[in-house]
């Protein structure tokens, strides 16, 4: 290719061939001029037909610049690092393999980088659900939406972008050495936090200049299948989030560790009490579990991790009952 793309989209994938095609289709259908972006697929040790899917895509959508890069070391952090290092664009966008981007995603992101002053170091937006299985009645869009409100604004301390909808200036990734490879998803083990570590490092070092610009118009849809729509899955995610939170904010001294454990027990008891009190407000026990036992699970994860116990939770397989395009929630609702 003769011209350099302005923006590179990195899609890291591990054994999700069925969904990957749709992710790539959404990227091929962007409103941004095709010469201005490229797609870099990082194959993170897939053992399924992922390479075939990518090759087939390269044939049918030959106008879209797409490269396949291999990263055999399992771990989302590793894969993302390989991805941005291979990227040729000035900006690097990250999207997950089980997601699809809104058609104006890249065009809008580029506009934000070019028009906003002072220039942001990263931009990001909302995640909305893309139901690939029928949604059960008790399930709420709220469980899947990741949003910092309906207004564009710079994020403040304690807020960060979802890893499936974040676009960096490549220079910043270089400067900070990319993602932490010690936390985060590895193969089938659920985890998270590699981008949080990076955002924390950026904001600690650049302080006021670390502008993370959030814009709700930047939308990525995230696949939600039957297997994700269970209380069990949600609670395990809350639990793992607690473990990660403990690791991100590790206690320094033995004394502090002890006092945190004590505080953790009190927190769990009081959250559990409050959850039981509110049980009758919920017509369905599953939504009660997700919303009320979730915080209990998070504190339990934090407590156990603080005691040195790390339980690993496997990510559920996305099931085969995907209907071809699924349905997305445009205007998401509470109920």
């Amino acid at each position: 290719m003769s011209t350099r793309p302005t923006i590179s989209v990195v899609v890291c994938t591990h054994n999700r061939a069925a969904l990957l095609r749709q992710a790539l289709d959404s990227l091929a259908g962007q409103t941004l001029d095709r010469t201005r972006y490229e797609v870099v697929v990082v194959n993170n040790g897939s053992t399924d037909e992922t390479p075939t899917v990518v090759r087939a895509f390269q044939v049918t959508e030959h106008q879209c610049s797409l490269r396949l890069v291999d990263e055999p070391t399992l771990g989302l952090g590793h894969a993302r690092n390989t991805g941005w290092k291979a990227a040729r664009g000035e900006y690097v966008a990250f999207m997950d393999d089980d997601a699809k981007a809104d058609s104006t995603w890249l065009e809008h992101a580029l506009q934000l980088f070019e028009k906003s002053r002072p220039a942001p170091v990263a931009v990001g937006g909302q995640i909305r659900p893309w139901y690939v299985s029928p949604k059960p009645a008790w399930y709420k869009d709220e469980y899947e939406v990741r949003s910092w409100g309906c207004q564009a604004r710079p994020l403040s301390a304690g807020e960060s972008f979802s890893g499936s909808n974040m676009i960096f200036a490549k220079q910043v990734l270089q400067e900070f050495g990319g993602f932490d490879v010690n936390v985060g998803m590895r193969g089938k083990r659920i985890s998270m936090g590699e981008e949080t570590v990076l955002f924390n490092r950026i904001s600690e070092s650049l302080r006021d200049r670390a502008i993370l610009l959030y814009d709700p118009e930047l939308i990525v849809y995230h696949a939600v299948s039957r297997r994700n729509m269970t209380a069990r899955y949600h609670l395990s995610r809350w639990f793992v989030a607690g473990q990660v939170a403990c690791r991100l904010d590790a206690p320094a001294s033995f004394r502090e560790r002890l006092s945190r454990l004590r505080a953790g027990v009190t927190a769990i008891r009081s959250l559990m009490g409050a959850a039981l009190e509110q049980r009758k407000l919920f017509p369905n026990h599953r939504s009660w579990m997700v919303e009320q036992l979730g915080p209990v699970a998070l504190e339990t994860g934090r407590l156990l991790a603080g005691m040195g116990l790390h339980l690993s939770v496997r990510r559920p397989e996305l099931t085969a009952d995907l209907h071809p395009s699924g349905s997305t929630a445009g205007q998401w609702s509470f109920r």
Partner: protein, 335 residues
């Protein structure tokens, strides 16, 4: 000897409740007061009821024509001789210690220009406690949405009010108190006593009921002026939104939640620029409305509530704060 307190009450067709209202003042545990009753052209048997009262502390002024509450209250304040003026309405009941507690409060806090109390609202099968904000700054912030002092409970320092050239604006047929406090808050220190010292009666022939629309409209006029202090000239749509939020009457729809979040964020932003209302009280008041809106939509406060910047300033008690920490922890990890 001039009395310490002048109680001012304007009566317009007080009818069946008048005897009890007058009795509740005459039987106060604090006795050093004069009781100025102004008959604002009543056409029922109010005049006879007033005339039948025998107490040397009574001063009755009779008018044949009806001039409205604001004008009559100004007249009452003008003839009052006490150091403090206490308000009273013809259909309410002051609890026996009301004057004693308020005089004690005013003497203990000589910088306070006017103080109100909490009220109990009773009648027609309803029994509610209406709690008002206590500190001057909290009252000031609440005035953006509604009148933060219960009118019949107010006691003010006559000299201070006079010195600040404050009086009721008789062009307001209702909401004249709201108008007055909005002007007074710039000049005087306001406070509320956290105790129920007056019972408000709910009945069918009340001004609040009879003329709910007019009340709403005039209060709306004051609210618009309060918005102007923030440099905001609302569009019709914004006005309607602000009225709905201010009067606690909103539709339970997701689009309302979104619109109100944007509006409340805008208010906070405007106050950051104009510093018209004291912080952090202003953010707290705005946050409380946000909480009420989220609660009315949903069984419990979840992601939608906690991921908004509006919730970050609220202190909801130990357990809820823990829950907030858990939700924010989850959101921070992009989940």
């Amino acid at each position: 000897m001039t009395p310490v307190v002048s109680v001012v009450m304007s009566v317009y067709n007080g009818g069946p409740f008048l005897t009890e209202a007058i009795g509740s003042i005459l039987s106060q545990s604090y006795a050093d007061f004069e009781f100025i009753i102004i008959d604002d052209g009543s056409t029922d048997d109010s005049a006879n009821i007033i005339a039948s009262q025998r107490d040397r502390r009574l001063r009755v002024i009779r008018h044949a024509e009806n001039a409205g509450l604001a004008a009559r209250l100004n007249e009452g304040v003008a003839v009052a001789s006490g150091r403090y003026v206490a308000r009273m309405d013809a259909d309410d009941i002051s609890l026996p210690d009301r004057l004693a507690r308020q005089v004690g409060f005013m003497q203990a806090h000589p910088h306070v220009g006017a103080c109100g109390t909490w009220v109990e609202v009773a009648g027609e099968g309803v029994r509610q406690r209406w709690e008002y904000p206590l500190s001057h700054d909290a009252i000031h912030a609440r005035l953006l949405f509604d009148c933060a002092m219960a009118h019949p409970t107010v006691m003010f320092d006559r000299a201070r009010l006079h010195k600040a050239r404050l009086s009721y604006d008789s062009s307001y047929p209702c909401a004249q108190d709201y108008d007055l406090w909005c002007r007074a808050v710039q000049e005087l220190s306001l406070a509320n006593i956290p105790e129920v010292l007056l019972v408000r009666r709910l009945h069918a022939c009340q001004i609040g009921r009879r003329d709910a629309n007019a009340q709403q409209r005039w209060a709306g006029t004051v609210r618009r002026r309060q918005l102007e202090r923030l440099g905001i000239r609302p569009t019709d749509e914004q006005s309607a939104l602000h009225e709905a939020i201010s009067t606690w009457s909103w539709p339970r729809t997701e689009s309302f939640v979104q619109a109100s979040e944007a509006w409340l964020c805008l208010l906070r932003q405007a106050n950051r620029t104009h510093a018209a209302y004291p912080e952090p009280e202003f953010s707290t008041v705005v946050g409380e409305r946000w909480k009420a809106i989220c609660q009315s939509m949903h069984q419990s406060l979840g992601r939608r509530f906690w991921s908004s910047p509006l919730s970050s300033v609220l202190d909801l008690g130990w357990t809820e704060n823990l829950r907030g920490r858990a939700w924010r922890g989850l959101a921070l990890l992009g989940l």
